[in-house]
Every structure is written in C-alpha cells, then in structure tokens.
Symmetry: C2
Subunit: 143 residues, 2 copies
C-alpha cells in the first residue's frame, strides 16, 4: 500500500475544508462528522498538516482550522509526501540510511526510479481545487 489512511484522510479533509471555507474557522468535529472519520485520529493528521504549513489552527472557543493558501495552490503530491513521509515505491529509494550496497551495480534501480517518477508526476498534477464541486447542483460525483 503506497498510500495509507493518513494520506487518504488528509486529502478528504482538505477537500472538505476547501468546500466549507468562509469567514469562520472550520471545526475538526464538523469535518470528522461529515467525512465519518474518528475525530481523535483526524487530530493527529491535522497536526502534521499544521506543521507542514498547509493549514492553520486557532485555539479556543470559535476556533478551528483554515487552509493557509488557495485550494489550487495545494498540490496533492505535497500532501502525500508530507503525510506518508516520502512515497518511495521501493525501499531502495526511500532514504539515505538504507544505502543498498548494490546501488552501483543494480540492474533494476533505474526502473524503480522511473516508477517513482511517474507516481510523483501524476500526484503533482492535481491540486485540491480539482476535487471541488464546480456547480451548485448538489452533485457529489466527479466524472
């Protein structure tokens, strides 16, 4: 599994926030309810997004979260890399610490790099805006 619940939930959360953004801050409780995701689990996801400067939190009564930039500036690839801590399809590409001794002579390394490329290219071609409802018909489907 390349993408875990953290990445998927983060995406749904951000789309939800983008669609419900107005003057007020958005409460996690509301998102959790609408998206049917455990509020407590969402908290840990949201924390990461705050650290990554994707969203901003405001404490206290009347507080909540808001996006730190426009939906069309939030690249899905950035969210996934943030939430999953990298997105390497194979261990060889994950980090420096792996440091495979076969690196220099490996026949398959470039193949994996190519796979890594197509994945990042794809997810970097989408922003949160691409997932938002474009009309007011109440149509929840993206065709």
């Amino acid at each position: 599994m390349l993408i875990s619940t953290r990445g998927r939930y983060a995406l749904r959360l951000l789309i939800d926030m983008a669609e419900h953004s107005g003057k007020d801050y958005i409460k996690l409780k509301d998102v959790a309810e609408r998206q049917d995701i455990s509020e407590k689990y969402l908290e840990s996801i949201v924390k990461q997004l705050v650290t990554g400067h994707i969203i901003v939190g405001l404490r206290g009564k009347g507080g909540g979260y808001r996006l730190s930039k426009a939906p069309d500036e939030i690249v899905v690839g950035d969210i996934m890399r943030l939430m999953e801590g990298g997105l390497a399809p194979v261990a060889c590409l994950e980090n420096e610490s792996f440091n495979c001794p076969r690196m220099g002579m490996c026949r398959t390394l470039n193949f994996w790099r190519g796979l890594d490329d197509v994945i990042h290219k794809y997810i970097d071609s989408y922003t949160i805006a691409d997932f938002m409802r474009t009309d007011e018909s109440g149509n929840d489907y993206v065709i």
Copy 2:
C-alpha cells in the same frame, strides 16, 4: 511501500535466470549466492513463481529452475502483481471485501484509479529482456 522485497527479489531472480539460462537447469543456491539473497527466503518466492507458471522446477540431482517463456515475454507488471498479490496504491482499490461505503459518492476515487493506471501502465511496459546485459563488455550498468 508499494513493492516489498518479494517483488524486488523476484525481479532480480528472473533477470539473473534469464542471463544464466542455457541447457542446464539453474540452481537456486547459485542465484542466492550471486544475488546475495537468503536461499530459504528465495525458495518461498520461487514457489509463487512456479505456481504462477513463470518458471518451472525440476527435482533431484541436476535439477533446478528454468524460465517457462522467453525473457521478452515476461512482463514485469505480471510478476509484481503475482508477488505482491495485487498492487493497489490505496486500500479502496484493493479488493471487493474492502467495499467502502463511500464508493458511490467518493470525490477521490477516480484520482486513485488514475494513479493505479499510471503505475500498471509503467510496469507493464517492461519485460525481463529490458534488464539483460546487451553486450559482453561485462558492463553491469543499465544507462
């Protein structure tokens, strides 16, 4: 991690077998040594490849394994799907049993399907022959 050691090792094993194939059957012990992979662990991988009709085993002295078809007929995508048991990048696409209740209204499903597509398209564009050494210079690199 989309691809585990099983998928990676299977690929290296098949490339190794393709390059060392002659009239004799290839012994697992030799592949394990050349590739520096535990022979016992390779056994479990090889078992899956036999079941999947990618390679054929011959018991007894002088036995071993051989490819069941030409290297350029062995598609890497088929190997990965066999070894990893599917290759879904997200749980939603994995199997019928997951059966997400949001399937019908999910805003992100098509995005994940697209990701799934680019992954399969990429790995299906390679065969074992693409990894084999083309000259006799002893050059182990694929540029």
